[in-house]
């Protein structure tokens, strides 16, 4: 192998490619590398980025969650309605977390205890939860009464918008959990070989329930931030989010067959999704083309991943 090929197909290949792509874009696209645009770009990936943290665990343990988009919308809705009704933002937040966590828990219990396929289960809850959001709001957007709620998205911490900080903190926490805790290692082990993990004493069904419950909670956080940014609870918010999140994870080298995941990869995946969209916006490319480009990027990433495992000479 030549050294270039080695670099591109090595462990850090994706990061290298990302760095190169970033440099090219920064040099060629006007207005890209401005502080304003950078912050806007990061803002735009907050929802995907936050949800991708736990989706990574879900995929790494060989599971799948399609209900994230609905859960984000539903919990955002709940947050707005509960804080409007009670006059307290805290109560709104807690209610959102509770609802998001509950959706995740239900997913987890149905999948792990009743052994129903994750794809089917979350396909069902995806629709149920979206329905609940529509029922609760009667299909209309619910405006936020308390201006304090806007502050969640508008406030800044050290000059950086709070949602971006929250996303960064999540990246750090979940990166740590994946690499440095028993929970993370067990997640990867389950994805690698569920039966062997069970026999090795890993409580596989509890682990799966936890992963889904966490996913629900994290969706609630994303939902609250989203509601605050769009200044209302929208029952139709975040449609198609599940696909973007899964794409970002796969872009980042998370294996759909389970057992392989890395936080850095997922971060890069999320950023690639964000940059692609941002650049297309800056270049005034029609939205219709953006779908095509996004799909192509995903295909390319998967092909690259394939090349990489072939180069690593993994036995199947």
């Amino acid at each position: 192998m030549t050294s270039l090929k080695k670099l591109l197909l090595g462990e850090q290949g994706l990061v290298v490619i990302f760095a190169i792509a970033f440099a090219i874009v920064a040099l060629t696209v006007p207005n890209f590398l401005t502080e304003r645009n950078m912050l806007g770009l990061l803002q735009s990936v907050v929802t995907i980025g936050i949800v991708a943290c736990t989706m990574m665990f879900c995929l790494a343990s060989r599971d799948f969650d399609l209900s994230v988009g609905s859960t984000v919308a539903f919990s955002g809705m709940v947050a707005v309605m509960a804080s409007n009704a009670s006059g307290s933002i805290i109560i709104g937040l807690l209610a959102a977390l509770l609802c998001g966590g509950a959706v995740g828990l239900v997913n987890g219990v149905v999948i792990a205890r009743f052994r129903i396929n994750a794809l089917i289960t979350t396909l069902a809850t995806m629709q149920i939860v979206r329905g609940l959001a529509l029922i609760a709001s009667d299909g209309r957007a619910v405006g936020i009464n308390d201006p304090g709620f806007y502050q969640l998205a508008l406030s800044k911490f050290l000059g950086i918008p709070t949602p971006i900080c929250v996303m960064a903190v999540f990246f750090i926490i979940f990166g740590f959990v994946l690499n440095r805790t028993v929970f993370g290692k067990n997640t990867l082990a389950i994805g690698g070989n569920p039966e062997a993990s069970r026999l090795a004493g890993v409580n596989v069904s509890n682990m799966r329930i936890w992963i889904f419950a966490l996913q629900g909670l994290v969706c609630a956080v994303a939902g609250v931030l989203l509601a605050s940014r769009i200044t209302s609870g929208q029952p139709n918010a975040a449609t198609g989010l599940e696909l973007s999140v899964i794409s970002a994870c796969v872009l980042g080298g998370v294996s759909l067959a389970g057992g392989r995941a890395a936080m850095t990869g997922v971060i890069v995946g999320v950023l690639i999704m964000g940059i692609a969209e941002n650049v297309m916006n800056l270049l005034n490319i029609q939205a219709f083309y953006q779908y095509v480009v996004r799909g192509l990027i995903l295909l390319l990433a998967v092909l690259l991943d394939n090349l990489r495992s072939a180069a690593a000479g993994r036995r199947t």
């Binding site: 028993v182 290692k185 690698g192 039966e195 062997a196 026999l199 090795a200 057992g259 036995r315």
Partner: protein, 510 residues
């Protein structure tokens, strides 16, 4: 006779490992050629090179004097080389005949000619003396029968060279014997057979000539097997003499550690009861399918129980799940490495620490140093052949994977009862005796050990007591002083198991 299959200066390296280095030898037509060597010596790699699955870095292969240039399994197949891997490659949902024709079904315009499909197979099977119904689904066959089907596949394809990689490791002795007869017949037809095994008995039973590999290099080549001894082969493999591989030492037995009472489950209907004392090594012998692994899985809680209790040191273990069993001090090292043992995609270190890490991970936070230390210790202790503890487990040789799984359980703390299912399957002679040493050491510390094995010499060589199982029941319970090969075998065979006239038989089934 001339040399039919020739390897010339074959070398093959993987990152960090020289799997084969300058290996040259040749095999005559109509010969069964043995290939032996320690785990990771390069046997499977050589076979993979022969089968076109991997290409050698340097060197050449000649068949019947012709230089082979193949680059894929398909090319090798066309050149008449067929490899039967340890993991069998049949489609379970198809019938025997369909499997044998797979890839080139007989018929016109995509419509399969049913009568030829079955007819030709029937003929071929009869020709080589395999008694299997061509219309049976492969899923319904025993592992031994599947192996036969694999061989039939080679015969159907008119293979000139057939390589078998540890074919008997999951066969019963009866099934192995049938396999040997089949191999004899193929030899008589002038095929060249390459036979990889860790079992010396089989090598002497079958082979005409033998090559021993060590660390990827040719350690010895014997054109005539009659002229060498067992001890010589072992010394060539491991580079030192091993006089007595069992090395059994009697121990003190203490109070009852593991007590199993009336245990039964879905796959083991007849309730089973037994106990194991501190410091005791109890062997479970039986034919494949006798219910030994099912028993072990029930005790460990891997399968759910329908009745019965398991207690350790007098305390009942509830509920029946692996995590609870581990906390109560029972561990199980499972039989099927590929499905129940290794975690694919993870490295050696992670595979070893998966269970024991909870002892040194405060608040669930990993201590990489301690994991590394543990991995290095057991890599050294079990002599796992690997460039580093970070190697992905799937890149290890079969026997070395087994050693890593053993390490997983040997590194677990507070184990009171160790159940090992086929501990030395696929493991070389040198490592075997080291594993036995470890078992004696653990038993000496008061652990109760249950060893399940299909190798009679092994169970007789290392245990204090043997329980023989037959068709899901305990057929005999024999103390070491009364070990007798014939009696144990008689108890294990279904047709004579209930014959009460066998001398001194303590039939324990209820």
């Amino acid at each position: 006779m001339q040399d039919f299959l020739e390897f010339k200066a074959i070398s093959k390296g993987y990152p960090g490992v020289q799997a084969l280095a300058d290996v040259s030898f040749s095999v005559k037509k109509g010969a069964v050629h043995g290939l032996m060597g320690e785990n990771g010596a390069g046997k499977s790699t050589l076979i993979r090179v022969l089968s076109g699955d991997q290409s050698a870095d340097t060197g050449e292969i000649r068949i019947d004097g012709q230089l082979q240039h193949y680059r894929s399994v398909r090319d090798a197949f066309d050149a008449g080389v067929i490899v039967i891997h340890q993991e069998l490659q049949l489609v379970p949902e198809l019938t025997v005949a369909e499997n044998l024709w797979l890839g080139r079904f007989p018929g016109k315009a995509g419509v399969i000619d049913r009568s030829r499909l079955v007819g030709v197979v029937k003929e071929k099977l009869a020709e080589i003396g395999i008694d299997i119904d061509p219309t049976a689904k492969v899923a319904s066959l025993s592992i031994g029968e599947r192996q036969m089907v694999e061989i039939a596949k080679a015969v159907m394809a008119d293979a000139r060279v057939i390589a078998l990689d540890e074919p008997t490791s999951s066969l019963s002795s009866r099934e192995s014997e049938i396999l040997f007869t089949l191999i004899d017949r193929l030899r008589a037809q002038g095929k060249v057979i390459l036979y990889v095994s860790h079992r010396l008995d089989e090598i002497f039973r079958l082979c005409d000539s033998l090559t021993v590999l060590r660390d990827g290099k040719l350690a010895a080549h014997h054109p005539e097997i009659a002229q060498i001894t067992r001890e010589q082969i072992i010394a060539e493999m491991v580079g030192r003499e091993i006089s007595n591989i069992w090395g059994f030492r009697p121990r003190e037995r203490g109070a009852v550690r593991l007590e199993v009472k009336d245990l039964a489950g879905r796959k083991l209907r007849t309730p089973i009861s037994f106990s194991v004392r501190q410091g005791e090594i109890l062997g479970f012998f039986g034919l494949i399918g006798a219910g030994r692994s099912e028993m072990a899985r029930l005790v460990y809680g891997a399968d759910s129980r329908s009745q019965g209790t398991v207690s350790v040191d007098g305390a009942t273990v509830t509920p029946d799940s692996p995590p609870h069993s581990i906390r109560s001090g029972i561990v199980l090292c499972p039989e099927d490495r590929k499905f129940d043992g290794i975690v694919q995609g993870r490295n050696i270190e992670e595979n070893m620490a998966i269970s024991s890490r909870r002892h040194f991970s405060p608040f669930g936070i990993l201590q990489p140093k301690k994991e590394a230390e543990l991995a290095d210790r057991f890599i050294a202790k079990l002599r796992v052949r690997t460039p580093s503890r970070k190697q992905e487990i799937v890149n290890l040789s079969g026997g070395n994977q087994q050693k890593v799984i053993l390490g997983r359980w040997l590194s677990e703390q507070g184990v009171k009862v160790l159940i090992i299912d086929e501990p030395t399957r696929g493991i070389d002679v040198g490592a075997k005796s080291e594993i036995y040493e470890i078992l004696y050491e653990l038993a000496g510390q008061g652990m109760a050990i249950v060893v399940i094995s299909s190798e009679l010499p092994e169970v007789m060589g290392i245990t204090d007591r043997i329980m023989v199982m037959c068709q899901g029941r305990v057929a005999a319970d024999i103390e070491r002083a009364d070990f007798d090969e014939r009696r144990i075998l008689a108890a294990a065979l279904p047709d004579v198991a209930n014959a009460s006239e066998l001398p001194n038989q303590q039939v324990q089934s209820r």
